[in-house]
């Protein structure tokens, strides 16, 4: 028939229970979604567990609460490892340099030794000075004194050691700084050689 209401000022009021039920109704879909998601995760986990049993044992022993700490540990270890790699890389470069340097110096000595072995029967070699300044130069000076010919008792003018040594050095040092001077005095014929080898970059 007709609707008439002389008082329409009433404000809606709800009981606590109703509010709780209403909240429950609102929360229910979210909870259902989470449960569904969790169920799907479990199904997938079980599938993986049956497929990879060894990995599954590790996964089971892993607790999610330890994840943050484990991650922190891993991060720290990664930083340490990175620093170590940098150090090792620097050390390797240094060792490489040392090896090159050692090889170079050794070749100088080998050349010196080989040349002396080849020509030592007819010549005397006096090593006057040898100074190695790493990363800078290798300075040496020596006297090459050939023996007199026994048959003729004449002075020999051939400095075989010096020639052999310099030839050998040229293979390693293309442009050695050498200052060779002959000394002739009475029955002495000698060669004084001042040699400076560039070791820069080694």
């Amino acid at each position: 028939m007709v609707d008439v209401n002389l008082y329409s000022k009433k404000k809606p009021r709800l009981k606590l229970l109703t509010v709780l039920i209403l909240t429950g109704i609102l929360v229910l879909p979210v909870a259902a979604f989470r449960i569904t998601l969790w169920s799907l995760q479990m199904v997938e986990f079980n599938r993986l567990q049956s497929q990879y049993p060894i990995a599954a044992r590790e996964m089971q022993s892993f607790r999610s609460s330890e994840f943050a700490a484990a991650r922190q540990r891993l991060d720290q270890q990664e930083r340490n490892l990175s620093a170590m790699v940098t150090r090792v890389r620097a050390e390797t470069a240094k060792v490489e340099k040392d090896l090159v340097y050692a090889g170079t110096v050794q070749r100088v000595f080998s050349s010196f030794s080989d040349s002396f072995s080849q020509t030592g029967n007819g010549e005397k070699v006096f090593l006057n000075r040898m100074a190695v300044s790493r990363g800078s130069t290798m300075d040496m000076s020596y006297y090459d004194i050939p023996f007199a010919e026994e048959s003729t008792q004449t002075l020999s003018l051939s400095f075989d050691f010096h020639q052999s040594f310099m030839e050998s050095l040229l293979k390693t040092f293309p442009a050695p700084d050498a200052d060779a001077q002959e000394i002739n005095f009475l029955f002495l014929n000698a060669l004084y050689n001042q040699l400076s080898l560039d070791l820069k970059g080694m």
Binding site: M1, N5, K11
Partner: protein, 363 residues
């Protein structure tokens, strides 16, 4: 929750009907589109000294609520004394709801010489699911703001009644009882007028229908209050008679029936005479030829079936409106007949239940 909102949380309707003579209360539970009466309360109280809300009435309401038990989520329906309500039919151009309300408020304020600030009006709207009447006639109900505030302060403050969701002019409870579909089929939608003569304890009212809608309503200046006053002058137990009237009991069972019956008959005749005067005055006011030919149906109703039948009998006896046939207005199909003595408060219950949803009363 005065509007249509949040009614999904209302699962109980608390109904309270009060007047100077009787207080009734019902608690209705609604579930699965079924309304079931859980508790009912009724108490006759005739001792008052002319106040429009007596102290006894307020005390009885308090007891009723203590018996019924209230809940904060109850949908509360209370009747507002019809004596403090004025109604008017106003013709207005097409306006928005609020503008229409204000326009009618100003017009009625002038007509009744009541300051606008002290005036509360409500324009009758068609019930949910029903078409509003065509045209620009608007039936409005109004009361003084001071009356409403006094009523609410007493009822809410003293009787501790919960704040009402619906405060309905008392007379409209009768309209809720009737089966609108049967009425339409019986020709209520006729171009002619149909009249419902309604006798209550504190007032009597004449509902006028046309084209299937409530066209107007008029107060009939005779009610059961006058009958009770007449009985009080005799040395009989007024409470007992009022109880019998409210319950719809056989008056003949009372020991002093010989004294009571003539008073009853005289009162009913006087009431029907006043009703006929009102109908005739209304029809004369319509300025139509052959006024009685404009009547489609006459219905009579009252507090219960017993009183209704007594009034119908008297109407036939006195040949109301030249012996026009008095028709029996059909009650709703789900009306619980065993609760006929609660008929009026059930009208309020129907109003509350209707607001919440389409529900059927079950036993």
């Amino acid at each position: 929750m005065g509007g249509d909102d949040l009614q999904i949380f209302n699962r109980r309707v608390l109904v309270l009907e009060t007047n100077n003579f009787v207080t009734k209360a019902l608690l209705v539970r609604i579930a699965a589109k079924k309304a079931k009466i859980l508790k009912k309360y009724k108490k006759v109280h005739t001792h008052f000294e002319g106040e429009w809300i007596s102290a006894t009435q307020l005390e009885t309401m308090k007891k009723a609520l203590a018996f019924i038990g209230t809940d904060v989520e109850d949908y509360v329906v209370i009747n507002f004394p019809f004596e403090r309500v004025i109604s008017s039919v106003e013709t207005m151009p097409n306006l928005a709801e609020e503008q229409l309300k204000n326009a009618i408020k100003f017009k009625m304020s002038e007509e009744f010489n009541i300051p606008v600030a002290d005036f509360i009006i409500e324009v009758a709207k068609a019930s949910r699911g029903e078409k509003p009447p065509a045209g620009n006639r608007h039936l409005a109900f109004a009361t003084r703001k001071s009356s409403l505030e006094e009523f609410l302060s007493k009822v809410l403050g003293i009787s501790k009644v919960p704040e009402p969701d619906i405060l309905i002019p008392d007379s409209l409870k009768y309209l809720e009882l009737f089966d609108a579909r049967s009425l339409r089929e019986s020709g209520l939608r006729d171009e002619r007028f149909s009249f419902l003569i309604c006798m209550d304890l504190n007032y009597s009212v004449l509902f006028i229908f046309k084209n299937g809608y409530l066209w107007n309503l008029m107060e009939i200046p005779y009610s059961l209050k006058e009958l009770i006053g007449a009985l009080a002058e005799k040395s009989i137990d007024v409470d007992e008679v009022v109880s019998a009237l409210v319950e719809g009991s056989e008056i003949g069972s009372l020991s002093y029936v010989k004294e009571v019956q003539p008073v009853l008959d005289q009162s009913y005749q006087q009431f029907l005479f006043e009703a006929e005067k009102s109908i005739r005055n209304f029809l004369i006011g319509q300025k139509v030829q052959n006024p009685l030919g404009q009547i489609h149906s006459i219905f009579v109703t009252s507090l219960n079936n017993r009183l209704t039948m007594d009034l119908e009998f008297q109407a036939h006896q006195m040949r109301l409106l030249n012996g026009m046939r008095i028709q029996r207005i059909p009650l709703k199909e789900d009306f619980p007949t065993e609760l006929d003595s609660f008929r009026t408060v059930l009208g309020l219950a129907y109003r509350g239940v209707r607001q919440i949803g389409r529900c059927k009363f079950v036993q």
